[in-house]
């Protein structure tokens, strides 16, 4: 009986601890998601009466070729950002993990883009990448006898790589910090043992360092994917989704449906699809990362 009482007390204490955050998560996260799902099957415009229209919003969305483009673009941007931030972030982390005199300054410089509000950064980049008078084109022109005009944000062929580049530049800092923390947790004796066994630098990295920082890889892939899939502010401020809708990510599309039209339920259906896509991709990569962690540990 005493055991039962103690157990119950622990149980209640646990409930007590998680109650505040559970209420907040339910009210501000789960409830809106459920409401979004509910309204996505209606023709609600944000005000007034509404009626159930079944899957009509979803059918219309999937009949829209530009929605499919935005969906694929978002997945492409999300994966590219996750890949590039991880590769470049890890590279910088490996360099800065060495005994460099300038490593603190370099860390600060690399982290700096992340503290600039992305909308501000977008406006600055817009002037740097301006086709006619931008700094980037003027810089490249100095290496050529002719004036170079690269349409960084003014051509559908260039605008997506440009957005990935800027987003990667902005997100490298936090990714690098996570890797630096993970690298500092790698036991030196393991590295030394591998050295004594004659393992080359590459083999030491692949067989000792990389497995030891695997949890960091999982975290960083998650950060990269989450930031990439929900990307909105950068392309919206930089190009407004243009030119010709080439940089119209799913989040911009949803914004247009929900807030630039009176078709709120249509936007809700689109946002529900985006949530599912984000969930599937994230779960897939997390499970792959976890499997890798299990295999190497």
């Amino acid at each position: 009986m005493k055991f039962m009482n103690g157990n119950r007390k622990r149980y209640l204490t646990g409930i007590f601890f998680i109650a505040p955050i559970s209420i907040i998560i339910f009210t501000f996260l789960l409830l809106p998601i459920l409401q979004t799902m509910y309204y996505s099957f209606t023709d609600w415009r944000g005000v007034g009466e509404y009626s159930f229209i079944g899957l009509k919003n979803y059918i219309n969305i999937f009949n829209d070729s530009s929605f499919k483009y935005s969906l694929l673009l978002t997945i492409y941007v999300g994966l590219s950002i996750a890949f590039l931030t991880n590769v470049i972030g890890l590279t910088f982390a490996l360099v800065l993990d060495q005994a460099l005199k300038t490593k603190n300054i370099l860390r600060t410089i690399l982290y700096l883009p992340n503290v600039i509000p992305i909308v501000v950064a977008a406006f600055v980049w817009r002037y740097i990448l301006d086709y006619n008078n931008g700094l980037a084109n003027k810089f490249f022109s100095t290496f050529s006898s002719e004036s170079i005009h690269i349409p960084w944000i003014d051509s559908p062929d260039y605008v997506v790589p440009t957005i990935i580049m800027i987003s990667t530049w902005q997100m490298i800092g936090p990714v690098m910090i996570v890797y630096l923390a993970a690298l500092q947790g790698v036991p030196l004796d393991l590295i030394e043992a591998a050295k004594i066994d004659g393992a080359s630098k590459v083999k030491r990295f692949l067989n000792v360092t990389l497995p030891m920082i695997a949890p960091g890889i999982t975290v960083n892939i998650l950060i990269g994917l989450a930031n990439g899939i929900r990307i909105f502010d950068l392309p919206y401020a930089l190009t407004g989704g243009g030119p010709a809708g080439a940089s119209e990510t799913l989040a911009i599309k949803i914004y247009r449906y929900a807030f630039q039209s009176t078709e709120l339920s249509y936007g809700m259906a689109a946002s529900f699809i985006m949530t599912l896509v984000a969930l599937v991709i994230t779960l897939l990569f997390v499970s792959l990362s976890r499997r890798y962690e299990r295999n190497v540990m």
């Binding site: 007590f16 907040i24 415009r45 989704g241 030119p243 807030f259 039209s261």
Partner: protein
Amino acid sequence: MKKSVIWLGLLLFVLGSLVACGKDNDSASSSSGDGGSSSEPVTISAFIAEDLFKSADIMQGFIDRFEMDNPDIKVKLETVPHGEIYERLRVMVSTDEMPDIYQINVGHSISYLVEDAGYLYDLNELNSASNFSNAIQEGTQLNGKHAAFSMGVGVLGFHYNADMLKEAGFEEPPKTWDELLDLGEKLKADNKSLLAYSGKWTTGLINVFHWTFGNYALKNQEFKEAYLSNSIDWSKPEYREILMDGFKKFNELNEYVYTGSFTSEYGDAQQAFVNEESAMVMGGSWDIGQIRDLNPSFEHSFMNLPYDAETDNSYIYTAEDGLAINSKSENLEAAKTFLDWLFSKEIYEDITKTLANTSAMEGVGELDPVYVDIPQWLETDRVISFANTGPIEEAVITKLGETAQKVTFDGDIEKAADEFINEYNSFKE
């Protein structure tokens, strides 16, 4: 035990906060009802885009003058960037948090939403309603209500640099589409652009289509009615042909457009014009103040787009954005007093002078010399009074701009037309 009490307290605090969030904000409202104590001034809220009065400071200046004349009424001003005004209003309608006075454009779909939700007050009840010209009174009607007091008259067109045109061999602005393209070709040969669009945002890029639809509406009443009721049947070959013509002409024009027009801000386009990188900038008669701000001594003129032969070409005229009253306002009388004061002839004259707007009231204000031709245009029977998004959802208009741009990059007009029509129909349903 102590810890349990602390956690219980924390839980109650969180619950209390949540309950407070869900409560009506009567007590938190900045407004105090008309029925309040006579010694306390009534506070009304006004919500506008920061550029409606050129800047928030200018609007605040007028508010200060009003408050001096009416010490029992205070006006609390909230401004947002130009691009956010309708999104914010949409949210305010949905959450039942409408300000006492707000900015709308009668042609914009948000106005229909505001009316449906019962927030649109009939301004005919105000004395100053009769100050507006008949055309503006008609142009600002919605469901029989005088929906907004317009800041001015807007006519779409091109500001052009006559000197650049002369250098390209044009003593007069081009009168036909072919002449316009010829001018573009000559300017291009000199590494200059014919025109810059008025920015990347929705209506900036589809301006050419105002003439596409406007000119056809002059000839075809059925199309005009379908356009205004957002029910165009694009399966009709003649309607599709008109749309295709719009895509074709937009594409032709893009050969000579200032690169960056598809992704730039309105101000960038005007800057390119003032810097003489572009001979024209697309926009309207509301732009003069901003152009003069960039370069007060910059000489330029204003022309209509020669989309069709002069006899078939429309003049696109619209009442500019204006101020409306929340019909559910607790401070209705105070809001009416403020708008009556602001749109009295005396104050409105000051507004038009300050903003360099084209006056919406007869006999009030002076027409800027740049717009000297506009009164003659408006006397013709070729005036089309729908502009900006009209009754069409902004997302659909955006799609029109996107698909039109796609033609420029991939040349597939049929595909672009199908994509736009699909979007139009999905919203029409």
